[in-house]
Symmetry: C2
Subunit: 754 residues, 2 copies
């Protein structure tokens, strides 16, 4: 095509034949366009039309030549911004084709060709900011590790060193019998290292250190999770039930053997028909005064104990929860030590044990069912800290109400609701370490002519992983807080701490569920291969949202606790208090809900921790007050309280959620105050901001409904979340490396630390 | 306490000692309260204080007596609404204690005791509407089954009957070798039943029925999902690649043996380093004109084929995607048939096969890696429908652009993106059937004094499952639509249908992921046991969001397709069109965004399908136009298109999501029009409304930001979603039974149909 006028069409032709998006219809559009151009001769039109004849495509060589021509013509011309600009560049300098610009522009529009985008086809040198983002480390990783570990560093180090030994190589057999035995052997090693008895009193051979015990649970969770659950069943549930519900005679008799794993045992509470509603247990313990014994009995198939860890294979004894019956009177649920197997592993007469069989995960733990057919145990086997039968055969308890006694008993077991969320946290850390390291190495797609780009450079991928990373740091600090509250608890705080533990258990395990799901998908096919361990992490922790209390049920309890606190504080304030409360709310409305605040979108404000806290607190208070009002209204309207609570169940979850989010936010803020190293502080502050704003973004529907924010502000929050993700991305690998998980535990080939 | 005044305190004392919520602090509150009552003598005060002495609790008998007294006094007194009312009831008729009412009320407030709620302790007869909800069937289940199956009923029935045979009993071995062989044997049975070759042309021994083939894929998915994937790899991916990319000579040579499973084969596209960016494949097929052969070669470890189904054990041949090289010139990715094993199962020289090993799920499928070390194949093995090498050794293709040819080739394989979402749909149906039947049977908690209540009666539980049930019906109809569009496609519609398939693949598989997650949690511990099959359903479908195209990447493609359509239609309209578009938008603003519409909350309006469609369309159009504007602005501002798309990636997902939601909504509406049976229509309409409103609720943040709805309306939507859940609950079991999944396939003990 030596005709200059016709050369102007070259880029168009090239796009027509190379672009995979144009359809037959668009060929017609181009043909009509050519036919309508008045400045072309009939002959010229024919020549052009022959190039867009769908039945007569150009040869590959012709196509290649076109591309070459175009590339040559636009080399070093940065001003080229549209197809027409190329046409100009291709034309003789003498010819002024600017008159036809509008025709070309219209055609480009009709074909939906975006000038700059189409030009990508011809630009060979990629100068892309997406491609240029990469991993750097702006802080000293070890300093953050030290900050996270705090004073638990020595025990964490010890546990890591043990689980990195060769004998802790992961079990690869899919045979659950083999797996169960391996996990048992691992537990034995841990017991020999005096990790199992860490929380028991020193006078019974223990370490007397509950704080270390929780750190052990968390650190073990970097390894196989069947191990930590088996460990938790033996030393936590079984051992701690003896310690919490029994008295000196039980400690002396059992604790040493439990701590050494000489006496494997179970915590037999849940029954087939009673899990969440544990007050409804049907197993009976009938007192026989004549021979000072109890008869443990399973009255029907559905009252069998189910899902009991250590039951199917290893357990020799169990703490069995059963309704105490004396003289046909039911004294509510109490706990009893019942033998299951003799030292040879044979089941005791009257005890029937079933195997829960293969599970979704945790197949290294031998869960089973237990039924009792009138099994007789001596009177001393009653765990009698809170209730006992006296010499006259009468029931005795310092807590007269069955209900209250039962919840006091349960309250002593709250430790499980600290160990589990901390274990879930560790699993999330493992998943994120694998997924973020992989995303930093895995390359896919890239700018035209440039090399492929790490997938962590893609905004969507950052969105999928980095807010989860921020949340994981947030949960870390919140669980440290929970642990400290528990360790320093007073009697008066117990209800609050129990609710906090129940809530944080839900918050952390749901968070881990979401994180591992995202990690699996973010790793694509590699995430599906068992060798990369997201399989095990995800399936093992799947039940964390159910055991130690179903999350949804726990959240209802948390919300009820919040409501009851609310009513009390409201009540104590009296009528003056009510006026104050209304006034305070009005003040919020004035200072926080004025048009300037609800629309404020400058960076400084959005990143301000004072703003975050106010927003979280406002949400928490408002939802709580609204739920309280709604329940009152329903009850006043004649509804049974049971029904009223059912109507607002959905809202109750929000009450608990908003409370927990505020706690987690506060604890992240508190943690930041304690960071001394400036570089650490800087990156942790960004993570904190990402946590705060991504929570606000998640709840934007609520904030808009409430009027606390306007659209302009929630949109600015979204933008800031994107920006924070982009800013944190270069440090992401360093931030997961700061978790300092042993490489032998991570084990995933795709997470190899390059 | 014979003193009537003192008797009034009985309920208070009972609550103090029986309630598990009161703390030491509250004991003090009560003591102070008593001390401050001027109408009591000092002696009376002492007597009362002795009852709230924390170191001297009442005996159990005393407590029981109090309760008895209270219960007796309020029997049949429906007017009793507060603790004070009980006090009145307990007092002598002669004594007027109404003077002290305000004191009591204040105390109740201070203690946070909600009168009605506290009264639950004393009411023995439960009259609860929560407890009274139960399963009924308001429609003929079979009629809905017939409606869902439509004209595919015969083939669905045939497949169900085959997979219900004893030889299709689930494999319980955890040994993957055993499992793989079982699945292979099942496939052989299906091939013998002429199900595998259903889509192949009749002239090559096939059934010539693509529609039936898809119905087979979906129905097989009620059984083990390894089966359907193995089946899909063999007959879909391997067979259809030959049919779609090859020519007559290949059909004649291979199709019959593929259809009978005499020739097991693979679809070898994905490489370790190239999955989503399949254009970047590195395997080469070098043409040698001297002996008319191709040499297939894997240039480096990361160019090995990976995750290839049928490769590890059974595959004898593979369709291998490789870059064609002639005379050192790269002609882009093409497809070749390459032998892997001889009929004895020995690997061909030059072929190295690895085993992907244990996976999260689908362990009945033998995924493997394949490497080629200069494997020579005859020229005829090139699948030459879209490209070939002519007798002179030159490359020839009716499609000159490598890019365009490649996407045309991929386009012929779109069937996989119909089979997978339909398989995912079936898995969701299985999960919901198990979870909803169980939730209808499982009882936990209940009104005080009443029996325990099915957990499906709890609002939160309904919230967790019923919107998913509605969505599953919605996806069913949308996938029927997709299938029909595909079966009746014209060339001009192909791009739209490809985008629709990519989008529905993502929509359906993500939906299934969420549904099975909720089902697992809703079934608690039972959901964790492998015997109840949520394990397998969940882990097998986990990879559905990744294979046949990573969902996130596919959603970007869908969004790009929408943008390109938008630009075209916008372009075609010309400047008049732009004015019209702005005017149309303004009309929407006037008619739909006026204060009356944005605040309209009456039931009729909220349930109106016209309102739903407008809201969905408005969202779709607005997000699309906004994304288009934003990209243009970024590019105009100097950003590379590649970078601009990265900046808006998050928004692109919304573009695709809003488009798909509108399609799904429309198809549910269309389906309803075709329902003849009135009872069916009624319940399906409720499900439709639940789908529509729960989507709006999910997107309420967007609607509020946009100003399309105000808070009063989004709140009304939430309320209506709750109400619809409650209304649908009695029919829920019937609605899952209408899926008509063979009981032998469901298999879960907890889903036994009572």
């Amino acid at each position: 095509m030596k005709n200059t006028k016709l050369q102007a069409f070259t880029p168009l032709f090239y796009l027509v034949w190379s672009d995979d998006l144009l359809t037959q219809k668009e060929f017609k559009t181009i043909q009509e366009f050519i036919n309508n151009l008045s400045w072309l001769s009939q002959e010229e039109k024919q020549q052009l039309l022959s190039k867009v004849d769908i039945s007569n495509p150009p040869s590959r060589n012709e196509l290649a030549q076109w591309k070459l021509d175009i590339e040559k013509s636009i080399q070093d011309k940065t001003a080229v911004k549209s197809i027409f600009d190329i046409a100009v560049a291709l034309s003789d300098k003498d010819l002024d084709i600017s008159l036809v610009e509008s025709d070309f522009t219209k055609l480009e529009n009709d074909l939906g060709i975006l000038g700059e985008e189409a030009l990508q086809n011809f630009k060979t040198k990629a100068d892309s900011f997406t491609a240029n983002s990469q991993t750097t480390s702006n802080f000293d990783i070890q300093k953050i590790t030290e900050f996270l570990d705090g004073k638990e560093a020595p025990i964490i180090k010890k546990v890591k060193s043990i689980i990195s030994r060769p004998e802790f190589a992961y079990e690869t057999s899919t045979d659950i019998n083999v797996f169960r035995q391996t996990v048992y052997n691992w537990c034995k090693i841990l017991a020999d290292e005096n990790l199992g008895n860490m929380a028991y009193p020193k006078e019974y051979g223990g370490g007397g250190n509950v704080e270390d015990y929780f750190a052990i649970m968390e650190t073990l969770s970097y390894h196989d999770l069947s191990l930590v659950i088996k460990f938790g069943v033996q030393f936590g549930l079984w051992g701690m039930s003896v310690q919490s519900l029994g008295t000196e005679k039980h400690y002396a008799k059992y604790l040493k053997d439990i701590g050494s794993l000489k006496l494997p045992g179970c915590f037999a509470m849940t029954e087939t028909h009673h899990g969440s509603n544990v007050k409804g247990l049907e197993t009976t313990a009938t007192y026989n005064h004549s021979d000072q014994t109890f008869t443990i009995h399973t009255p029907n198939q559905n009252a069998q104990k189910e899902y009991i860890g250590n039951a199917a294979v290893h357990g020799q004894m169990a703490t069995v929860f059963a309704k105490l019956v004396i003289d046909n009177h039911d004294y509510g649920v109490n706990a009893f030590i019942v033998p299951l197997r003799d030292t040879n592993g044979n089941t005791i007469k009257g005890v029937t044990i079933g195997d829960c069989g293969h599970k979704m995960g945790l197949n290294g733990v031998d869960n089973g069912t237990i039924s009792f057919d009138n099994v007789v145990i001596p009177k001393e086997n009653m765990l009698d800290r809170f209730a006992s039968v006296n010499d006259k055969g009468e029931f005795e308890s310092p807590i007269p109400s069955d209900n209250r006694r039962f919840f006091t008993m349960l309250g002593t077991l709250v430790g499980g609701r600290i160990g589990i969320p901390r274990s879930a946290l560790a699993a999330a850390k493992s998943g994120l370490t694998i997924a973020i390291r992989y995303s930093d190495q895995r390359r896919q797609f890239g700018p035209e002519g440039g090399s492929e780009v790490p997938i962590l450079n893609y905004r969507m991928h950052q969105r999928r992983l980095l807010p989860h990373l921020a949340k994981t740091y947030a949960v870390h600090f919140a669980l440290q807080y929970l642990t400290n509250r528990f360790l320093n608890r007073t009697e008066a705080e117990m209800q609050e701490i129990e609710a906090l533990a129940a809530g944080m258990k839900s918050y952390s395990t749901w968070s881990t569920r979401d994180i591992l799901q995202e990690c699996r998908e973010a790793c694509g096919g590699k995430g599906y291969l068992s060798e990369n361990r997201i399989d095990a992490l995800k399936n093992d922790t799947e039940i964390y949202t159910t055991f130690e209390g179903d999350n949804t049920v726990l959240m209802q309890l948390v919300a009820k606790n919040r409501l009851s606190e609310f009513r009390k504080s409201f009540g104590e304030m009296g009528s003056l208090g009510i006026i104050n409360y209304v006034y305070e709310n009005a003040k919020t409305a004035i200072t926080e809900k004025n048009p300037i605040a609800t629309r404020k979108t400058d960076d400084e404000h959005l990143l301000d921790s004072e703003f975050h806290l106010q927003a979280f607190v406002h949400r928490e208070k408002t939802i709580l007050a609204s739920a309280a009002r709604r329940i009152k209204k329903l009850v006043d309207g004649g509804l049974e309280a049971y029904d009223a609570f059912n109507v607002v169940q959905h809202q109750m979850i929000d009450v608990a959620q908003a409370y927990l989010e505020r706690i987690v936010l506060e604890q992240f803020q508190e943690a930041l105050k304690a960071v001394k190293d400036e570089n650490s502080k800087q990156i942790l502050t960004k993570l904190y901001q990402l946590y705060a704003l991504s929570q606000i973004e998640k709840n934007k529907g609520w904030y808009l409904e409430d009027g606390y924010m306007e659209a302009v502000k929630t949109k600015a929050v979204r933008k800031m979340v994107n920006q924070l993700c982009w800013d944190i991305r270069p440090d992401a690998v360093a931030l997961v490396n700061a978790f300092d998980i042993p490489e032998s535990c991570l084990a995933a080939p795709i997470a190899a630390n390059f």
